[in-house]
Subunit: 327 residues, 2 copies
């Protein structure tokens, strides 16, 4: 029996979910729900489009609603609201506000006997799981998260807001020396700025003052000022040719110690090189939709995170077969 | 309230469990159980030693028995037997026989309302989990497991059985070209022998025929004949100085594809560099003992594997704090 998926929001992430659902034989996308006029939206694989306001009419046709809004303003409202009517999955990624998001969704879902998984994806999500496993196994040790190489959309937007900038892409790149030291088992104290550098590709408007733009980028507080930042001015054609993708990735590394004198060193690493950040995140959300169905079928309601999900719940393969083939 | 741990068997793995329990503030080792004469066994941290036959007398003093026997002959008997009386954890690692081991332990534990986690460690264990997550998220893709660089105890034993060999250590080493190709996103078809080479360090007995020993190693079926194998003859002193540890590790890599034309490539990697194979395995078993207690407290009896364990169950940290700090 196919899992019936609704896709709420149809930007990069929503399109990624549509494609991910198509790659999973045990799922079917029954509808995309958009705040735009439905007739103006054409889906990649022909999934029908409905107005977001009509979602509640389709409660009995949807097993899990995957909510693909933004974390800043959409998800804090949408997920608790929709969890009153649907099993839901989201990718809420404002780390500092996750506890209050979990609490809000928990209240709504528990009352409605629905199941939610929130803050799924790769960070939060797979990286969180990697941190949790490694800390649980090696209590004496130190954790590192490196992000990149990848496009930081927030930083790209910040550069685009500078006067004279037509388009921009900002990459986060792990500092090779820091990454190699940690991979080699060292446990230095490193700030985020000591672990990463930033590289910006900028298309300037005609006649813009390039020196001023570069200075404004490099001195921008929070975003760039603390980082080693490189700025390249390129043509619009070059931007389109070489920087139109949304790659990302990174590594979670824990260096831990065991033995009578803590003399034995262990390096545990989980790393990702993602050709498309939104499509990978969407693929995680699709697997989580499967887990939501399994929790719900067992009467486990309320708000879960990926830390609460047994790995077997995410898999389309039966447990016996997983044990025989993967374990 | 401290989790009371029994350690059944006291070789390298049992000693590792003793040390791992000492690193976890929420656990106490209440006894080591040995088939040797208890008065001849001295523990690393002063844990009391009992005869294995007296274990059943201590049922009410032990929350989880961690069984540290060998997979060939000990665990197939010990784990189903002890699961009638204790919650148990083991590291049964004969991959082909895991399903029947799970079935035997399930029957015993379910009847006795005990909880077991079997085949825990890193492979099976953390590597299995890594394979399962990556396959669930990226259904279109290909998996690779590389082992090493590390000491293969089975291969070392095989070399030691050759006439004229006083001592031997065999390392499994991933082939750099194969590993780098897969890390770069390639999806070649590779046999185990195409992914790994073997390096042997041999202490020969006085007057032994070194050429014959080298030939016997390199032509040994199953163990070495299919692999590129290098043999070094060294002194007993050099063996002691440079090859007395039990390092191991490896990498599980899945290369998967998403997108309308499957044009976006993703590389998911989980890797381990372990200073001590038995101490890391033991650290996983200790975390699994915590998970066993949580399952048991919820009335979830029977035989689990690490694929069934929510990550949060392995952690000494409360769920709310994990969500606030790690997610």
């Amino acid at each position: 029996m196919s899992i019936k998926i609704g896709i709420y929001g149809y930007g990069n992430l929503g399109r990624g979910v549509e494609l991910a659902v198509a790659q999973n034989p045990d799922m079917t996308a029954v509808g995309v729900f958009t705040r735009r006029a439905p007739e103006t939206v054409k889906t990649l694989t022909g999934v029908p489009v409905f107005a977001a306001d009509d979602a509640l009419k389709m409660q009995d046709k949807i097993d899990v609603m995957i909510i693909c809004g933004g974390s800043a303003t959409d998800l804090p409202k949408q997920t608790p609201y929709l969890a009153q009517y649907f099993n839901v999955v989201d990718s809420f990624d404002t780390h500092a506000k996750i506890p209050q998001h979990v609490a809000a969704v928990q209240a709504a879902a528990e009352r409605a006997k629905k199941t939610a998984i929130v803050s799924a994806g790769w960070d939060p999500g797979m990286f969180s799981i990697a941190r949790s496993y490694a800390c649980s196994i090696l209590p004496d040790g130190k954790d590192y998260t490196f992000w990149g190489k990848g496009v930081s959309q927030g930083h790209s937007d910040a550069v685009r807001r500078i006067d004279g900038v037509a388009d921009a892409r900002s990459y986060t790149i792990p500092m090779p020396d820091a990454l190699n030291a940690v991979r080699g088992g060292a446990t230095p104290d490193l700030t985020t700025a000591q672990k990463h550098e930033r590289e910006c590709f900028v298309v300037a408007k005609d006649g813009a003052d390039l020196e001023r733009i570069e200075r404004e980028i490099k001195t921008m507080p929070n975003y760039f000022a603390d980082y080693h930042t490189t700025v390249h001015f390129i043509s619009a054609a070059e931007m389109q040719a070489n920087h139109s993708g949304l790659p990302h990735g990174g590594a979670v590394i824990r260096n831990g110690f065991t033995g009578v004198q803590k003399q034995n060193e262990h390096v545990v690493e989980f790393s990702l090189k993602l050709g498309s950040n939104p499509e990978f995140t969407a693929s995680v959300l699709a697997a989580c939709a499967r887990a939501v169905c399994r929790f719900h079928a067992k009467g486990e309601y309320g708000c879960k995170t990926m830390l609460d999900v047994p790995p077997v719940y995410l898999s389309a393969t039966e447990r016996d077969e997983l044990i025989a083939t993967l374990l």
